[in-house]
C-alpha cells in the first residue's frame, strides 16, 4: 500500500511540472503578438479627473501589432453594459508616425465593437480605436482590456490586457436623473434665471438629496437617541434644583446655569477638542449625542421645574391633607398634571435640539449642513442648502403643528369622560338624566360639553331659568379661574 501511494505522488509531481512548462510557453508567446499600448477613457467629471459611469465619454484603445502579424480584424469587448454607437467609432492605423489611409467597417454587437479592415493592416502597424460618446456602465468598476484580433487568414487570438484598466466611478440614479434634467429645455430655461439657478437648480437639487438625506438620518438618530435620555436627567436636575438640601440645589443650579448660560457651540468645541486630548476617544456621532444629551437636560430641567411650580399650591395641600406623603403627592398628583402642561414646551425643546445638530457641522459630523456644504463647495451653488432647509422643515413643521394641536386640546380642558359616554350610549338613555342629557346620549358627541353644563343647570335650578343659571355658572367659573390664578388666598 505504502509503496504504491509514493509512486502515485511522484507521478502527480511530474504531471504538475509538465503543465507548468506548457503554461509558461503559452504565456510567453504573446510577446511576439499584439500588444495593448493604451486603454483609457477621457475624464468626464465636472471637476476632478475621474471617469463617471453612465455619462458619455471617449474610450480609446491602441494596440501595437507584432512585426510578423498583419491584422485583419479587431474585436473589442467594452465593459458589460456599455452603450456605444458604431457611427461614433473612429479607427486609425499608424505606421511609425505616419497615418495610413485604411478603410474599415465598424459594427457593434451590444458592448462589443468589431472592426474589419478592408485589407489587412501592415505588419507592425499601430491600430487605434476611439469610441466617442461611449456611455460606460453607471454602476462603475475596474475594467481591463478584453477582445480578440485575427491575422489575415488566421484564427482569432486574444488581445493581451497588458495590465491596463479603466477605472469607472459609479453614478447614482440621482446623478443620471440630474444629467437627464440638465438636457431638458424647460430646465435650461429655468436655470437661465440667475436667482433660480443659484438657489433652486433642479439638477443640483436632485444630486443633493441622497447626500443630505444621509445627513438627515444621522441628525434624526442623534436626536432620537439623546432626547429620551435627556428627559430623566432633566427631571433629576429639576428635583435637585427644588430640593431643600442646599448642596443638591447648588449643584443643580450650577449645572443648569452654566449649560444654559453658554452657547452650545462652545460646549461642542470643548467636548470635541478637549476630550480627545484627555484620552477620551469617541466617534463624532456619539460625541454629538453626549453633548446634546447634557445640553438638553439643563433646558428640560427648567421646563420641568416651571411645570411643577405652575401647579397650584392647593393641589399639594389637598393631597397632603388626605395623608399622602410628599413622594406620593408628586407621583400621583403633581407629575401627571405637569406632564400635560410641559409636553408642548418639551416638543419645542425637541425642535430646538434637532436644529442644533447643525452646529456639529463645525466639528466634522456629517449631518445635513456638512453634506450640503460639500456639494456647494464643488458647484458653487446654494441649492444644496435649500434642500437641507427642506429636510429640517420636514420635521419641524409637523412638530410645531403637533404643539399647536396639543395646546388647543389643553385649552379645551384635556381628558373627557369616555367611559361615561360609552355607558350612556350603551344604555341608550340614562333614566335619571335630565332632558338635555338624553338629547346628548342620542346625538352622540356633538356639543357634549355644553349640553353637560345645561343638564347640570337643570339639576341645580329646578325652578327653571336654565339659561340664566348656565350663564351664571360660566361667569362664576371664569371668576374662580382668575382667583385660582392669583394663588391660594390666605385670609
Amino acid at each position: 500500500m505504502e509503496s504504491r501511494s509514493t509512486a502515485f505522488g511522484f507521478l502527480a509531481v511530474l504531471t504538475a511540472l509538465a503543465c507548468a512548462l506548457v503554461l509558461a510557453a503559452v504565456a510567453a508567446s504573446p510577446a511576439f503578438a499584439m500588444e495593448t499600448e493604451r486603454w483609457t477613457a477621457k475624464s468626464n467629471q465636472d471637476s476632478g479627473n475621474q471617469i463617471m459611469g453612465g455619462t458619455p465619454t471617449r474610450v480609446t484603445w491602441q494596440g501595437q501589432s507584432a512585426e510578423d502579424e498583419s491584422v485583419a480584424t479587431v474585436s473589442l469587448a467594452l465593459p458589460e453594459g456599455t452603450v456605444v454607437d458604431a457611427a461614433n467609432v473612429a479607427v486609425t492605423v499608424l505606421d511609425g508616425l505616419e497615418r495610413l489611409d485604411f478603410a474599415s467597417a465598424v459594427t457593434t454587437d451590444g458592448a462589443q465593437v468589431n472592426v474589419a479592415f478592408d485589407e489587412a493592416a501592415p505588419a507592425g502597424a499601430m491600430i487605434m480605436i476611439e469610441c466617442n460618446e461611449c456611455v460606460l456602465p453607471p454602476s462603475g468598476g475596474q475594467f481591463p482590456v478584453a477582445g480578440t484580433y485575427t491575422v489575415e487568414g488566421g484564427a482569432a487570438q486574444d488581445i493581451p490586457d497588458g495590465g491596463k484598466t479603466i477605472d469607472v466611478v459609479g453614478t447614482s440614479a440621482a446623478e443620471q436623473m440630474s444629467k437627464w434634467l440638465a438636457a431638458q429645455p424647460a430646465v435650461q430655461a429655468w436655470n437661465s434665471v440667475k436667482f433660480l439657478h443659484l438657489f433652486l437648480d433642479p439638477t443640483i437639487a436632485i444630486t443633493s438629496v441622497p447626500a443630505v438625506f444621509q445627513g438627515w438620518i444621522l441628525a434624526i438618530l442623534m436626536v432620537i437617541i439623546s432626547f429620551p435620555l435627556a428627559i430623566p436627567l432633566g427631571l433629576m436636575w429639576s428635583f435637585m434644583r427644588m430640593a431643600k438640601n442646599r448642596v443638591l440645589c447648588a449643584i443643580a443650579s450650577c449645572y443648569i446655569n452654566i449649560i444654559r448660560g453658554t452657547p452650545l457651540f462652545l460646549q461642542i468645541y470643548i467636548a470635541y477638542f478637549g476630550l480627545p486630548q484627555m484620552g477620551v476617544n469617541i466617534s463624532g456621532f456619539w460625541m454629538g449625542i453626549i453633548v446634546l444629551f447634557l445640553n438638553s437636560s439643563a433646558y428640560l430641567a427648567e421646563i420641568f421645574r416651571a411645570g411643577i411650580q405652575s401647579i397650584p399650591k392647593g393641589q399639594f395641600e389637598a393631597s397632603r391633607s388626605l395623608g399622602m406623603s410628599g413622594a406620593q403627592t408628586m407621583i400621583h398628583v403633581i407629575i401627571p398634571q405637569t406632564v400635560r402642561r410641559v409636553i408642548p414646551t418639551m416638543t419645542s425643546e425637541f425642535i430646538l435640539m434637532y436644529k442644533d445638530t447643525s452646529l456639529l457641522a463645525a466639528v466634522g459630523v456629517y449631518e445635513i449642513i456638512s453634506n450640503a456644504k460639500i456639494i456647494t463647495a464643488a458647484t458653487g451653488n446654494m441649492t444644496p442648502y435649500i434642500v437641507g432647509a427642506l429636510f429640517y422643515l420636514v420635521v419641524t413643521i409637523p412638530a410645531t403643528r403637533a404643539i399647536n394641536h396639543m395646546e388647543k386640546k389643553l385649552a379645551d380642558g384635556g381628558r373627557k369622560r369616555k367611559k361615561a359616554r360609552a355607558q350612556a350610549e350603551a344604555a341608550g338613555v340614562i333614566e335619571s338624566a335630565p332632558v338635555a342629557m338624553r338629547a346628548v346620549a342620542a346625538d352622540g358627541d356633538a356639543d357634549m360639553t355644553l349640553s353637560m353644563r345645561l343638564s347640570e343647570s337643570f339639576a341645580v335650578s329646578p325652578e327653571g331659568a336654565a339659561y340664566g343659571a348656565e350663564k351664571k355658572a360660566l361667569r362664576h367659573k371664569a371668576r374662580r379661574d382668575s382667583k385660582d390664578g392669583k394663588g391660594d388666598p390666605r385670609e
Binding site: R320, L322, Q328, I430, E456, S461, K483, D488, E491
Partner: protein, 275 residues
C-alpha cells in the same frame, strides 16, 4: 460662616425638640377623653407678621364649631395649623391626645383622621370624580381597588353625585366639585372635618347644596370645625360659635349667645356689618 450658621440651626433645632418634649409630657393627662382637638396657646407668624397670637380652643367629639371673624383675623390659618398645612411657630395642638407639633408624630397618618375641605375645592383635575375619591384610599389606607371604588361611589351618592362618578372636575359645577371634595375627605373616614370657607367661592344657588351636605354631616354626629361667613348655617347648625379677631379668640358661646347677645365690641361691630 456656613458651618457656623449650620451649627446654630442645629442647636436651635435641638432646643426646639427638647422644649416640645418637655411640654408634650405635661398636657396629655389633663385632656378630656371627649376633647378631640385641643389648641393651646397657638401662635403663628409669617415673617414679621403675627397672624395668631394666643389661640386656645377645645373641640369635643361630635361638636360643630363655627369660627367667625373678619378677614385677616387668622381663622383660616388656625384651621390650617390643625392638620399642619401651616407649621405653628408656638403653642401646641393635640389631635386625639397626640401632639401634632411633635416632630416624632407621623403627620401623614394623623392627617387621614382629619378631613379638610378648601375654599378652592382643589380637586385633582386629571382624575374623574370617582378617582379623586379613590386615590388617597388606595395610596394611604392601602384599600383594594374594589373596596375603594365601593366607598367612593357610596360617598358620592351621599353627597348627591352618584350619577357624576365618571365626570371630570372640569365638567362639574363649583357646587358639585365642592361636594366631590367633601366625599373625598369623608372616604378617609376622618374623625374631624375642617371646612375652610367651603362655600365662599360658590354662587348663592350652589351654596345651598354644599351647606345641605354639611348639615347632613353634622346631623350624623361628625365633629366639624367650620370657618365660614354663612351666618344662617352658624345659627342653625353650630353647637358653639367662636369669634376671632386680631389673632385671638374674642368671644365664644352658643349661637344664640353670640348672635343675639354679643358681649365684645368687635363682635357687635362685625355682626352689625353683616346684618
Amino acid at each position: 460662616m456656613n458651618k457656623v450658621s449650620e451649627k446654630v440651626d442645629e442647636i436651635s433645632a435641638q432646643m426646639a425638640a427638647t422644649s416640645v418634649k418637655v411640654s408634650s409630657a405635661r398636657p396629655a393627662p389633663q385632656l378630656d377623653e371627649n376633647v378631640i382637638v385641643s389648641i393651646q396657646s397657638l401662635q403663628k407668624s409669617f415673617g414679621d407678621t403675627e397672624v395668631l397670637r394666643d389661640v386656645n380652643i377645645d373641640v369635643h367629639r361630635g361638636e360643630v364649631v363655627v369660627v367667625l371673624g373678619p378677614s385677616g383675623s387668622g381663622k383660616s390659618t388656625m384651621l390650617r395649623c390643625i392638620n399642619l398645612l401651616e407649621v405653628p411657630t408656638g403653642g401646641h395642638i393635640y389631635f386625639e391626645g397626640k401632639d401634632i407639633t411633635d416632630k416624632k408624630t407621623d403627620i401623614n397618618k394623623l392627617r387621614t383622621g382629619i378631613g379638610m375641605v378648601f375654599q378652592s375645592f382643589n380637586l385633582f383635575p386629571h382624575l374623574s370624580a370617582k378617582e379623586n375619591v379613590m386615590l388617597a384610599q388606595r395610596k394611604v389606607l392601602k384599600r383594594s381597588k374594589e373596596e375603594a371604588e365601593a366607598i367612593a361611589l357610596e360617598e358620592l351618592r351621599k353627597v348627591g353625585l352618584g350619577d357624576r362618578a365618571d365626570y371630570m372636575p372640569s365638567e362639574l359645577s363649583g357646587g358639585q366639585q365642592q361636594r366631590v371634595a367633601i366625599a373625598r375627605a369623608l372616604a378617609m373616614r376622618p374623625h374631624v372635618m375642617l371646612f375652610d370657607e367651603a362655600t365662599s367661592a360658590l354662587d348663592p344657588e350652589l351654596v345651598r347644596d354644599v351647606l345641605g351636605v354639611m348639615k347632613d354631616l353634622a346631623r350624623e354626629g361628625m365633629t366639624m370645625i367650620v370657618v365660614t361667613h354663612e351666618m344662617g348655617f352658624a345659627r342653625d347648625v353650630a353647637d358653639r360659635v367662636i369669634f376671632m379677631d386680631g389673632g385671638v379668640v374674642v368671644e365664644e358661646g352658643t349661637p344664640e349667645a353670640v348672635f343675639d347677645h354679643p358681649q365684645n365690641e368687635r363682635t357687635k361691630d362685625f355682626l352689625g356689618h353683616i346684618a
